[in-house]
């Protein structure tokens, strides 16, 4: 399981082992202030990163950054 969270320290404290940094609490998987195209691109990168992380071995709670910016 990959947890996508805007608050990774909380997710990791609760025991989540694969954590990807989300965008914001109110819009974890995207950014409505962007144009629909850029928002979509941002979301796609985040989900692709989360799927990569699913394939990554970890030994304990680990934070993965998503490719930053839109």
């Amino acid at each position: 399981m990959t947890v996508i969270s805007a608050l990774p320290p909380l997710a990791m404290q609760a025991g989540a082992n694969r954590v990807v940094q989300g965008v914001k609490i109110e819009h974890v998987c995207g950014d409505p202030s962007l144009t629909p195209e850029l928002d979509h691109r941002l979301r796609r990168r985040l989900v692709e990163r989360s799927l990569e992380v699913l394939q990554t071995p970890v030994s304990g709670p680990t934070l993965f950054q998503s490719a930053g910016g839109a």
């Binding site: 996508i4 109110e26 998987c29 979301r43 989900v47 699913l54 970890v58």
Partner: protein, 345 residues
């Protein structure tokens, strides 16, 4: 004199051990097994009028007839209070005792049971009055002695005080009450005590989390079945299961069949822990179905499970979180999911 109803499993009733765990529900008049010790403690204050006995497997594998038997027994014997167990660390017995307490409460009869604090039965009905016990029947005398004051008070229709004062396990219930000092005064006193290294009693204990062993990585993503789960309270528009904005106890699964993306016409966000208008306007911001479908079409992964699981991750009790997590995991195992993306708001 209090009328007490007692619930026992097949073992403590003397019917037999595991080979009798399918024993169907059976009522007996008066006290049976450890009920006799309880009767001796009650003296003239109360009488065990009836004992309901059921095999642990029967109760857990056939809940419908078991529950019907408990309800019938309560109606027929009309006790003032029900005592279940104690079950110590026995999981199936603990779960039966918790359910007996729940059914009694639903019938308006107070109930008390005893369990080891790690008995999984506690998760089934956290509102039960549970006296903490040791983990084996060697503790029977002490357990019954600890349950007795609760039996008396509940049987007399009295409202119990806080868990710590009355000797039961915390039920997650907070009641308004008068205190001598304001919250600010009490908080500052606690802080001063903490800074001075002196003992203090928190008013809101924080649950401790478990360490979770990491799952092995998904080896073949292109062949993998992936599921979407969220604690962001994304629900079908109209909130058919009446998710609460906070402190919810449940989860639900909703179909994604035939859907290419989440849309504001059919879904909304009812989470009360953040400003949820943006997520309601475009639920893909929390449940990224649009890009998951794209990636599925492109063959990045094998298949998306055709439903998603949702709960309100806002001030949810750890007990409920654990139960919801276990139930969601079980539902996804049934779907042969290889991986999960869990979006937490």
């Amino acid at each position: 004199m209090l009328r007490v109803g007692h619930y026992l499993n097949q073992f403590f009733a003397g019917v037999g051990a595991e080979e009798h765990a399918n024993h169907p529900p059976e009522q007996r008049e008066g006290a049976v097994g450890p009920g006799r010790a309880l009767q001796a403690l009650l003296k003239d204050e109360g009488r065990i009028v009836s004992t309901l006995i059921c095999g642990d497997n029967f109760f857990n594998e056939r809940p419908e007839p078991a529950h019907a038997a408990v309800r019938g027994w309560l109606e027929a014997t009309r006790p003032d209070v029900v005592v279940a167990g104690p079950a110590f660390a026995a999981g199936r017995y603990g779960s039966a005792c918790a359910q007996v307490c729940q059914l009694a409460a639903a019938a308006g009869v107070p109930a008390v049971t005893g369990m080891h604090p790690e008995n999984p039965g506690l998760l089934l009905y956290p509102k039960a009055y549970v006296v903490p016990t040791g983990n084996s029947a060697a503790e029977m005398g002490r357990a019954l002695g600890a349950m007795l004051p609760l039996v008396r008070k509940l049987g007399a229709g009295r409202v119990l005080g806080p868990a710590s004062a009355e000797g039961y396990l915390p039920r997650g219930v907070r009641r308004p009450a008068m205190r001598e000092a304001t919250g600010a005064d009490r908080a500052v006193s606690m802080l001063i005590a903490k800074l001075a290294g002196k003992p203090f009693q928190t008013e809101i204990p924080v649950d401790a989390y478990d360490a979770v062993p990491p799952a092995p990585p998904v080896l073949d993503l292109r062949g993998a079945t992936i599921a979407l789960v969220t604690s962001g309270a994304i629900v079908p528009r109209g909130n058919p299961d009446r998710f609460k904005r906070c402190s919810d106890t449940k989860w639900a699964r909703y179909s994604l069949k035939g859907l290419e993306a989440m849309s504001a016409e059919t879904f909304e966000c009812v989470h009360g822990g953040f400003y949820n208008q943006m997520a309601s306007d475009n639920p893909n911001l929390v449940l990224p179905l649009d890009v998951m479908r794209e990636l599925e079409r492109e063959g990045a992964f094998g298949r998306l499970v055709d439903f998603y699981c949702s709960t309100t991750g806002n001030d949810q009790r750890l007990l409920d979180c654990r139960r919801n997590g276990a139930e969601i995991a079980a539902a996804l195992v049934t779907e042969r999911a290889d991986g999960v993306l869990l979006v937490c708001t």
